[in-house]
């Protein structure tokens, strides 16, 4: 892979190592990265930690980029002079199936990693909607999918990490063993940091055995109150679902089981006896397409606005009611998916104009904050930023976050503005 490349080298649809290279601004014969002449934003795709360090320690604001699937998350970054792409650092460095650990570079795509793990009957039990995103990016965005209720999120699966900080320090925490309490956990610090603290250049992950099978049971015509009641019943039962998702306006409750062939079948059958409404057990193809469309709703399309809410566990009828009322009033369509067991809601707003989107964000955020939750924007229709903040109420710990940011990035060069208006 060549060192420097344009930002267009990241191709969200394709594999990074198959993408960029020749589109780059060129590199010297020995493969060392070369840069655009000063002025104007530049993009660089380093292939070594040292080159990456050199790239991030130059003057000006730095935007770190994986496959570019979350560049719109949080508030827009101001005046990035340098975009550093991790597309050139996408390798598996050390995979030890017998230890069930894998050491990867931060730029490896989740889907590429899963493919390699599957060859050894293993997987990372982690299913964010953006399967083409990089592992480093997924850690930095703190993303998680429906299976989080059973397996945790990436914060529970990362056992070691190496980071490059704004001053050029290369530091690691954790290690290669699945149980380890030596030193502070810098990987957790980076979870949700959205590129404002450091570049996660290497990670060590705990992998799990790939379940023999996965089954999905679906109940239709499940209203909000019923969805909450059924979720409590499912999570308190012995059948251990690995995902429970409720979608509105379809009013569908989908319940997933991973396990042995006989075991998952028995659990799915038990779930059917607990659920109400119109029931179906999806075959493999149907299940695949349901979860694909579920992911597509979470990712959404350019021009949509996407809100992510964190609340306490449950699917709150008042919040769901408020969303549909505000959406109706603004004349937009609001598509919701909720993980009731962990209290995560993702709302995709489509139709009408920026003003209408901003109204829904503002109003629904107030409803969510009134019950102690948070709403961030992952994507917005152009123009929405002028009318509503990407972040709402700041958490009480924001002062500590500011101090952390100040200690690691005193010049505020990494993704400046990402957490505006907080810091």
């Amino acid at each position: 892979m060549v060192g420097a490349s344009s930002s267009s080298a990241s191709t969200p649809g394709g594999h990074p190592s198959a993408g960029g290279s020749s589109a780059s601004h060129g590199s010297s014969a020995d493969g060392a990265p070369t840069f655009e002449p000063s002025s104007g934003p530049r993009s660089i795709t380093p292939t070594t930690v040292k080159d990456l360090r050199d790239a991030v320690t130059t003057n000006g604001a730095v935007l770190i980029r994986g496959t570019g699937t979350a560049t719109t998350w949080g508030a827009p970054v101001r005046d990035a002079r340098t975009t550093v792409s991790l597309a050139g650092m996408d390798r598996v460095l050390d995979y030890r199936p017998a230890d069930m650990t894998v050491h990867v570079q931060g730029g490896i795509r989740l889907d590429a990693l899963q493919e390699e793990l599957a060859e050894h009957g293993q997987w990372l039990p982690y299913d964010p909607a953006r399967s083409e995103a990089t592992i480093g990016g997924l850690l930095a965005t703190g993303d998680a999918g429906p299976r989080r209720m059973a397996y945790g999120s990436l914060r529970e699966l990362v056992i070691g990490a190496t980071m490059v900080f704004p001053d050029g320090a290369i530091a690691k925490s954790g290690g290669h063993v699945i149980k380890n309490v030596a030193g502070y956990d810098l990987a957790k610090l980076c979870h949700g940091s959205l590129g404002t603290l450091g570049v996660v250049v290497e990670l060590v992950l705990r992998v799990h055995p790939l379940p023999q099978t996965s089954r999905t049971v679906m109940a239709r015509d499940v209203d909000t109150a019923t969805a909450q009641r059924l979720t409590w019943a499912l999570t308190k039962s012995a059948i251990e679902p690995t995902a429970v998702e409720w979608c509105e306006p379809e009013q569908v409750l989908a319940v997933r089981f991973d396990g042995t062939a006989d075991g998952a079948a028995a659990r799915a059958a038990a779930a059917r006896s607990m659920l109400t409404g119109s029931l179906a057990e999806l075959d493999e193809g149907e299940a695949h397409s349901f979860w694909e469309s579920h992911a597509a709703r979470v990712v959404a399309e350019p021009g949509d606005t996407v809100m992510r809410a964190a609340t306490r566990p449950g699917v709150d009828p008042a919040l769901v009611g408020a969303l549909s009322a505000w959406a109706d009033r603004a004349g937009v369509k609001a598509l919701l998916t909720c993980s009731p067991a962990t209290g995560a809601y993702t709302v995709r707003i489509t139709g009408s104009d920026a003003k209408a989107h901003a109204e829904v964000v503002k109003n629904w955020r107030a409803s969510v904050e009134a019950v102690g939750g948070f709403v961030m924007l992952r994507r917005r229709r152009p123009g929405v930023d002028a009318m509503v903040e990407s972040w709402g109420r700041a958490p009480g710990s924001v002062e500590v976050m500011r101090r952390v940011k100040g200690n690691f990035d005193p010049e505020n060069r990494f993704a400046p503005g990402r957490f505006a208006p907080w810091f």
């Binding site: 309490v181 957790k188 949700g192 964190a310 449950g314 102690g372 952390v404």
Partner: protein, 500 residues
Amino acid sequence: MDAEAATDRRRKLDAVLADLRRECGPTLRVLSGEAERRAYETDALTAHRVLPGLVLLPADRSQVAPIVRACLRHGVPYVARGAGTGLSGGALPAESGVVIALAKLNRILDVDPDRMVAVVEPGATNLSISAAVAGFGLYYAPDPSSQVVCTIGGNVAENSGGAHCLKYGFTSHHVLAVETVLPDGSTVVLGSDDIEAPCYDAPGYDLRGVFVGAEGTCGVATRIAVRLLRKPEVVRTLVADFPDVPSACETVSAVIAAGIVPAAIEMMDNLAIRACEDAVHAGYDREAAASLIIELDGPGEECAELFEQVSALCSEHACTRLRIAADDAERAAIWAGRKAAFAAMGRLSPEFLLQDGVVPRTRLAEALAGIADLSSAAGLRVANVFHAGDGNLHPLVLYRESDGEGPAAEALAAAIAELCVALGGSLSGEHGIGVDKACSMPKMFSPADLTAMDRLRAAFDPSGLCNPNKVFPTPALCGEARGGAYQPHPLEETGKIQRW
């Protein structure tokens, strides 16, 4: 310490006390007599003792912040303490410092059985949480061996594990939010904002993830929201005896290779088996060279299927006796033996040092052989009882202080911990670094790593008064001689092990 410094420290402590008498009134219990303070001079790492200047027992949560503020105002170091069962000296007081003993803050404040969350005070014992929610069919998963007495506040500080964390994860995976008095005296909730309605997610940096496992250096927890799990439908437990240690290690690898994640896989060597059996009469075979305790849990059908496979794998690997717990009572007896291991060592030796290193599971046999070599070279016995599934060793270095074996035992214990690092592992799996292993940190982390961690610590505690001289190697703790750049391990020099 010279007289002037002593007077200065006394003056500061008096000032702290005067402030607190005014702010907290008579309900704040103060232990200032030497005999009373003596009880707090050490935790379970009894080799280290420092007499605190003052011990304060808050009567309620609201007294914690004034204590921290008074310490900050007068420049007095402090440490929070739960049950004092920590094994790395994490609760060791600073000289003339304050101990904030949280034993009275032991209430289970709220249980939400639907959301499967409990909010508790830091002095609540680990087991009291499970007891409080058992009626709902729920439990709190992390289960350190000391769970009957150790507190959740201490578990949060140390990111405690236990036998079942192989499947269920550590404290950090089960804590949703921590209400914390920060070293600047302010009170914030790390994790989500409302400790009474905790969310799984919170925006921004994962400060809860940093706090859990920071060994009490980032503040004092006053309320903790924990995640509860449903009790598994079925639990199956077996004890498998082996004619030698490598066969037991190979069995562990075979179980994992079969794609099975047991709830727990524990191993004991012969020395440990005999001590536990003599102490508890758990029905272990005193002649076995090594035994595995393997437990599976989960939905009935799946658990039965996998348990069959595990039993078969034991038999295929030269297992000499397979004992399957017939009922809960037998399972409890098996675990009672294992959990009594550390206490049982008193039968073998008047003193012992416990280590907590971790190696990649595939290097277990190598690590045990290395420990045997180091043990015979030092002329001291080492018993091994450990969490084999995740490679977390607990070698017990047996010695007799009265024979002057103390220094040799300490050197052997440090060499074992550092051997684990040299094998690609870690100094500590669950006990923490504390003062015990701080001087070994440079074997595992570079100066840049430690600087980054210290930068994070300073964001929480710029004053450096919150549990100082823990985790990080300092000249005061380690002298100039120890630490520094990488040096090869003794076994590396002889070519017996290799780093990777």
